[in-house]
């Protein structure tokens, strides 16, 4: 039986892992390569490396770090951040990434998903969407959650999946950093709209939040979080034991 995946996300800037609350107020945590090894040992099913660097120098440091991590950690690696062209896909795939997540890049360049899926396969293209309710409507936000694109989220996700996105990461800006649980209503809407794997992101504060997620929405394939793992508030070993105890298919 296929298992539910637990995915720590490492936001990397200038070679260090950071995590903001509601995307702001960044705090240093640790070395990305060390954290990746630590999580792989702890039982993480996959890792996301998110490049939040703006400079060209930072980008070069990021790919060096990615290569180093990929040579030591043998679980699937997804890379996101600063992915705007097919050449960006190539750059990170050559450093050992298995999947590439697109967010603002897909909004700016409407043919990016289609082109990348054709070149590297659907399984390689992960659509990451930052979503926030505006007057009761789910809207897609760009630029790390700062800019309302005005697009309706479900329609946007359907379109990208139609063009070849093989997985969708749903990041609720409304619940991100609040630690009161995943945005179940938003996730259910996405699960009902597409037949590709859906990864829940934003809002996990404790083990029970993951149990509630997978019990309430069996269609959700994975749970993603950052700071609660980095600061040890949720230990992946404990989380997976608890999932298994709750009859959630889990790799231990």
């Amino acid at each position: 039986m296929i298992t539910k995946r637990i995915i720590p996300c490492l936001d990397v800037r200038d070679g260090r892992v950071v995590k903001g609350k509601n995307f702001l107020g960044l705090q240093d945590v640790d070395s990305p390569v060390e954290l990746a090894r630590f999580y792989s040992k702890a039982g993480a099913d996959e890792l996301v490396f998110y490049d939040i660097t703006a400079s060209a120098e930072g980008r070069a440091i990021f790919t060096d770090i990615l290569c180093e991590a990929a040579s030591q950690v043998f679980i699937p690696l997804t890379v996101g951040g600063g992915i705007n062209t097919a050449a960006d896909f190539e750059r990170v795939l050559n450093c050992g990434a298995d999947k590439v997540s697109v967010n603002s890049g897909a909004i700016r360049n409407p043919s990016l998903v289609k082109e990348a899926a054709r070149l590297y396969g659907d399984q390689c293209v992960v659509l990451s969407v930052d979503i926030k309710r505006v007057d009761g409507v789910l809207r897609v936000f760009a630029k790390g959650g700062r800019e309302n694109t005005g697009m309706e989220a479900i329609e946007w996700i359907r379109r990208c999946v139609g063009e070849g996105a093989g997985e969708v990461v749903v990041n609720s800006i409304d619940t991100d950093g609040v630690k009161k649980g995943f945005d179940l209503e938003m996730l259910e809407a996405v699960c009902n709209a597409v037949r590709v794997p859906v990864i829940a992101s934003g809002g996990a504060g404790c083990i029970q939040d993951f149990i509630t997620l997978f019990k309430t929405l069996p269609k959700v394939d994975a749970g993603l979080a950052a700071s609660i793992f980095h600061f040890g508030e949720v230990k992946i070993e404990d989380l997976k034991k608890e999932m298994a105890a709750n009859q959630i298919p889990t790799r231990i």
Binding site: M1, F74, G96, D98, P197
Partner: protein
């Protein structure tokens, strides 16, 4: 030395690192002489069957792989590389494979119930069908990482393990010195490394 066949399909960085992680020398190569000198051969692959089969033949490496396997050298096909070992594939038409193991590649969607997502992506448990040297360090029920939309069908007694995903999907096949795994051992954590170690020790 383990030769990883480079025929222009997919990225081989992780695979090379994983072989090095189990203490073996790995060379990524499209050179016939290097492959002939290798102790064992890995045939990787991602993407579409037709394109990969054409590249493997166009580069002349299909003949090299068949020749080397025919001489008894251990060969392991991974993911699409496993599917290429079979006689044919029905992925977007009908295409010929290397024919080293009997069987055909068919769409998963034809054998699983509605409600199961395609591709079959994630960690799934290995269910053994017959003993295999590849699994000498692995227990039944341990998980490996899959990403695929097509599966190896009609392989009969060549199947050594399956995974359950609404149907029993072939996880690995083997016939004499020719091995194939649908999952990615280089992305399957310690379990995957143990499988690669067992292959290297054949």
């Amino acid at each position: 030395m383990i030769a990883i066949i480079d025929y222009g399909v997919g990225n081989l960085f992780s695979l090379k690192c994983s072989i090095q992680a189990v203490g073996q020398e790995a060379v990524v190569s499209s050179d016939r002489h290097v492959i002939e000198q290798a102790d064992k051969i890995l045939l990787p692959g991602v993407g579409a069957f037709e394109d990969a089969a054409a590249k493997l033949r166009g580069s002349g490496l299909a003949d090299v792989v068949k020749e080397q396997a025919g001489q008894g050298k251990p060969l392991l096909g991974i993911c699409l590389g496993m599917q290429l070992l079979l006689e044919k594939s029905y992925e977007y038409g009908e295409h010929e494979g290397l024919g080293l193991i009997r069987g055909a590649v068919r769409p998963i969607k034809d054998v699983i119930p509605d409600g199961f997502k395609i591709p079959h992506i994630g960690w799934n448990a290995l269910l053994f069908r017959k003993p295999s040297k590849l699994y000498r360090y692995v227990r039944e029920g341990e998980h490996v990482y899959f990403v695929h939309s097509y599966y190896a069908a009609d392989c009969d007694s060549a199947v050594t393990a399956v995974s359950e995903y609404g149907a029993d999907l072939t996880a690995s096949i083997e016939e004499d010195n020719v091995f194939g795994c649908q999952f990615h051992p280089e992305k399957s954590g310690d379990v995957g490394l143990k499988i690669l170690k067992a292959f290297c020790e054949l």
